[in-house]
C-alpha cells in the first residue's frame, strides 16, 4: 500500500518546523527558503496551510521534462528529481499546476518533495499532526489529488 502525506491545515500553528526539517534533510542547512514544503499564512483569516507536492498521478512535471530527469520511485510512488540529469530548464516549474516544483537558483536545478524516500521528515517534525504520512486511500486524499487541474 502506497502512503502519502496528509495535510490538515486546521491543525497547523505556522511554526515552520516542517520547513526546517525539510531543508535540513535535503540541503543540510536550516533554511525555509530551501524547503520543499511551505506553510502559507492567511493572516486575516487566522489560518496556516502547509503545502507540498501531492505526487499526483498526472505527474505534469515528469511528463514535460525534456531530459527525463524526473522519475517515479517505485517504492514510495514519489516523483523524484535526479539532480545530475536535471539541466535547470524550468519547464516543469511552469507545467506543474500546483506550483510545487521550484527552481533553486543556487544549485541551478529544480527541487520538489520526494517523500524523503518513505520517511518524510516534515511529518516527523510536525508538533500538531497537521502533517501525517498515511495510507494513500485515506479519506480525502483521493479528492485532494483528483483536483489536478481540470484541463486534462
Amino acid at each position: 500500500m502506497l502512503k502519502a502525506l496528509q495535510i490538515e491545515p486546521a491543525k497547523c500553528t505556522g511554526c515552520l518546523q516542517c520547513e526546517l526539517a525539510c531543508s535540513w534533510e535535503n540541503e543540510q542547512v536550516f533554511n525555509p527558503s530551501k524547503s520543499r514544503i511551505k506553510v502559507f499564512t492567511f493572516h486575516d483569516e487566522g489560518r496556516f496551510v502547509p503545502y507540498t507536492c501531492t505526487q499526483c498521478t498526472e505527474a505534469w512535471c515528469m511528463q514535460t521534462c525534456p531530459v527525463d530527469a524526473i522519475v517515479i520511485n517505485e517504492t514510495t510512488g514519489a516523483k523524484e528529481v535526479i539532480e545530475e540529469v536535471c539541466v535547470g530548464c524550468k519547464v516543469c516549474t511552469i507545467a506543474c499546476p500546483f506550483g510545487t516544483i521550484n527552481y533553486n537558483s543556487s544549485s541551478g536545478k529544480v527541487i520538489k518533495c520526494d517523500l524523503c524516500g518513505g520517511e518524510p521528515e516534515c511529518a516527523k517534525a510536525c508538533p500538531t499532526d497537521a502533517i501525517t504520512y498515511v495510507d494513500a486511500d485515506h479519506t480525502g486524499l483521493a479528492r485532494m489529488r483528483a483536483h489536478a487541474a481540470g484541463g486534462d
Partner: protein, 421 residues
Amino acid sequence: MDHVIIGAGPAGVVAAETLRKLDKSAGITLIGDEPEPPYSRMALPYYLVQQIPEEGTYLRKTRDYFGHRKINLVQDRVTSVLPDEHTLRLDSGETMRYDKLLIATGSRPVSPPIPGIEQEGIHTCWTLDDGRAIAASTGPGAKIVLMGAGFIGCIILEALAKSGADLIVVEMEDRMVPRMMNATAGNMIKQWCIGKGVHVLTSTRVMAIEPGDGHRFKVILDQGVPLDADLIVSATGVRSNIGFLEGSGIQTETGVLIDRNMRTSAVDVYAAGDVAEGIDFSTGDYSVQAIQPTATEHGLLAAKNMAGLDARHKGSINMNVLDTLGLISSSFGLWMGTDKGDSAEQVNPARYQYLNLQFEEDVLVGATTLGLTLHVGVLRGLIQTRVRLGKWKERLKADPSRIMEAYLACTQPVSINTGLF
C-alpha cells in the same frame, strides 16, 4: 496493429511510450531523421556551455530504453504520405505500411529573406549538429551577432554570452521576447541583459550580411554602423515541418490541422507537437504553439486516441519560461490581456521584478512574471481550472504577489480543509 510515428522529438517519444503502455503487443515504429538517439532541443543551450555532455540532451536516459519497450527506432526521412494506402515513402527508397500514423515532425528555424544569409558560418541553433558547430566557433573574444531575441534567441543568448564572446543581439521588434512579453517586461529583460554586458539593439533590422574586413562577416543594419561578426546565429522564428505532406491530401495551414482527438483530415492519421495546430486553451482556436509542454500533452493525447480511446483535448495553455543571464521570466495564456478583461500589475524596475495578471471577470486568463521562481506553476493551475477568484480578485489587484494565497484559498483541495471560503 502497427503504429508509426514520424518525428523523434518529445511529442513522438511520449506518444510511442504511451502507446506501449496502452497496448503491449502493437508494433511501434519511431522514425527520426537525425543520427542521434531522440534528444531534446530544450537541452541544447546547456550542451553548448558544456554543462552537460551530449548524452545529457537525450530524451530518455536508460540504456536501450526504446529497444526494451520494443519501440523500433528508424533513422530515415519520410518523403511522402499516402493516406489512402496507409503507406509512407522514405528517403531510403523504402515504403512503410501503417495502421495508425502520427505526424510529429516538429518545426525548424526559418531563414529570414536577407541577402547573404545562406553563407557558411551563419548558423541556426536547432540541432545537436548546429550546437557542435556553434560551440566550435565561439569563445572568449569572438564577435557574435545573434539575430532575433525571441524565445529561442534568448535561450541561446545565455550560452553565447557565457562563452566569453562579445555578443550583440539584433531584434526587429521594440523589445526582447516580443511574442512572450509585453513592452514593460520585454524592456526590463533588455535592460538586464545590457547590464550583464550584452549589447542589445531593438527596433533594428538586419538588411544584409556581407564578407567582413578583419572579421568573417559585416552585418549591415537599417540604421547605424555595420557590425563585425565572426559568427552569426539566426533565431528569427520557427515553422512547422509540413512540406513532405504536400500532395498527401492532409489539410494544413500553418501546421497540420487536427480536431479535438488529434485526428488530421486523413483517416488514421494524427498529428502532435510543433507540427500540429492544436487547440489553444485560452482562445479556443487552433494554432501552432511550438512549446515543450504542449508537445508532450499532444503526444500523450494522440497516443490515447490511436490506441482506441476517446481522449479529447481541452486545449493547451501557451506558456514559456526563460532564463536570460539569471533573470527568470515566464508568461502564461492570454498574457497580453483581452478586450473584455482587466488586469493587475506590479513593476519594480530596480529589482527586476514584474508581475502582471490578466482577468476576465474573476477568472485568471493570463500572466507575466519576472524574477519569480517560487510556485510559479500555480499561474497555470489558476488559468487551467478557471477557478473563480471571488474576493481574491480585488486582493490580487491590490497586491498581485499574493497569488499563492489566492490559489490555495480558491482551489479545491485545500479549501476543503481550511474553510477559507
